[in-house]
């Protein structure tokens, strides 16, 4: 689904070049759950923005679904981004003048979808993140955890296949952080590809594939498939929250389906 080949990105900082990404190659299959960790300034966010088509590499190639993205113009990249990729940011980035519902509706509005379709999709995702009763609230009437869940709803309302989360719990206490993680992991179990950038070791460990970045390079990249079940059982520690009801049997099926795709 995603294939990066020798991606380089250099910033000029005070006249001297700073390599934020250094020959990064990476392949990600549909339905994977990755965590990206590493020291501050190691290029994690840069990598995520690259994958999310928000940034362009200086050199290297990037295929998204076999599409060579570096050949696309800005218009096509925006379209691809809107249709396939959802972003979750550390600081939520909700628009204050709009209600939760309107914030979530925004991507569909930009895509020019009809009102009726929007209404049902937004209602669905608001229910999915457990905020049906907060639809008409403005961001300043919501808690941090709720804000991030609104942001998640906005990220998934277009039914993207890739969800990028840059420190999604960075501004949250552990309780609301747990809620948020529950929601996005549920989405992953339902088939979405999830990449989480984090400094939180515990959160990073929950992913099935761990990438560690140092100085713009991928230092280590290993699968934790075997430990998967262990992690799953320890899940209750962070997330003993009711907001999402996961039909585990169902999700197990889905997961195995995805693995075969």
């Amino acid at each position: 689904m995603i294939k990066l080949e020798a991606i380089n990105k250099t910033y000029q900082v005070g006249g001297s070049p700073l390599r934020a990404l250094c020959d990064v190659s990476l392949q990600i299959e549909p339905g994977e759950y990755l965590s990206v960790m590493g020291p501050s300034g190691s290029g994690k966010s840069t990598l995520l923005n690259m994958i999310g088509l928000l940034d362009r590499p200086d050199s290297g190639r990037y295929w998204f679904d076999q599409v060579a993205t570096e050949e696309l113009n800005e218009e096509r990249r925006a379209h691809l981004r809107g249709e396939n990729i959802g972003f979750i940011f550390q600081s939520f980035h909700l628009i204050n003048r709009l209600t939760a519902f309107e914030n979530v509706e925004l991507p569909m509005m930009l895509a020019g979808q009809p009102v009726k379709q929007r209404r049902s999709a937004v209602t669905d995702v608001m229910a999915m993140v457990g905020l049906s009763d907060r639809a008409s609230h403005k961001p300043n009437q919501l808690s941090g955890g709720q804000l991030q869940r609104v942001a998640i709803a906005r990220a998934i309302v277009m039914r993207p296949r890739l969800l990028l989360a840059d420190e999604p719990t960075g501004n949250l206490d552990s309780h609301s952080g747990g809620e948020v993680i529950d929601v996005i992991e549920k989405l992953n179990q339902d088939g979405i590809t999830l990449i989480t950038v984090t400094h939180d070791q515990q959160l990073g460990d929950r992913a099935r594939r761990h990438i560690r970045m140092v100085d713009g390079m991928i230092d280590s990249d290993h699968n934790a498939h075997i430990k998967g079940s262990n992690i799953k059982s320890s899940q209750t520690k962070i997330s003993d929250i009711k907001s999402v009801d996961i039909d585990s049997a169902d999700t197990e099926d889905k997961k195995s389906d995805d693995a075969t795709i």
Partner: protein, 403 residues
Amino acid sequence: MRLFDQLVFNRQLFMRHRVRTVLLLLAVSIGVASVILLTSLGEGARGYVDREFSALGNRILIVLPGRKETTGGGPPIYGASPRDLTLEDANALGRIPGVLAVAPIIAGTTTIAHSNRSREVITLGSTDAFFTVRQLNVGMGRLLSARARTEPLAVCVLGVKVKRELFGSRRALGQWVRVGDRRMRVIGVLEERGESLGLDMRDMLVIPVRTAEQLFDSPGLFRILLDIAPSADSDKIQEQTLRVIRKRHDGEEDVTVISQDSMLAAFDNILATLTMAIAAISSISLLVAGILIMNISLISVSQRRKEIGLLKAIGASSRQIKQLFIGESLLLISMGSALGISVAFALIFVFAGLWPSFPLQPPTWAVPAALLVAFGTGLVFSIMPAKRAAALDPVLALRGLQH
């Protein structure tokens, strides 16, 4: 993005920034209203002049000696000095069908004196027809009679101001005055009336044309006034006038004929130009509104960096961002224009009630022109902020406010 959605989006934005929105609306509406009101003022003046002219009632042709038009090239080789217009010419013109009356005029300045008072006065030598053509009425006594056409009578008619200065409140009728080196009897005083076609009739002396001929010792007429029938074709009579003069002047067309219609047209022209100049000047206020929109949009772009970055992250293309910002300006301008037009017409309506003799009337092009300028400047001045917004790097925009 659908148009309706953009309108909703912009409405939310306007509601959020009410002061800013009201300020911009005000700027645009004042600009639009001032274009409409000021051009209405110009157009009103034109209508006023039109009506004053047509209130004169009759139609006049004025024949002047000498040609006005210069045909270019060097000075003419012969016939450089035009022939005088004579009383005989005037009589010949009077025989043109459609000419109701002919008033030959000899003009000059003389000294008029009575007892110990004297003053310089513009003196017109003419006939009884002069008063008909110029629609002058007698205030006291009587005007020149038909005999004044042919006889050098020693009589005169005074303008009210001349009468007042010579006689004060004493009776002037029947008194003898000295005009130049002649004695004349005052037979009438003109009715008080303002300026008419550039001559202040209150400050004049009118004597029989033959008397003036002797007084100024010149047979040349200053001009001839023709009163033409309301049904007559002014252009045709103008042509015939020239033909008659040509015949009488050995083929030289050495006079100029001015019609009242052409004078009115000249006035019209001047006032129409003036109205357009006013429109251009008042458009400057729209330009100012445009610049205000640009500045506020630029501020808005930098204040909304985060939002713009976010919109890009959730799939908005640069084109859509540009469209959002330009749409915002155009929407403001639409609302401001609607407000400005309403205010302008409301004021015109109120004005018409207060001052019915000078009706403000916006020229037909005023509203389209105001809208054109408003939307033109709005568009031009919103392109730059919109481009800046569209060019924002989403990563930086998002990071910049992530602190």
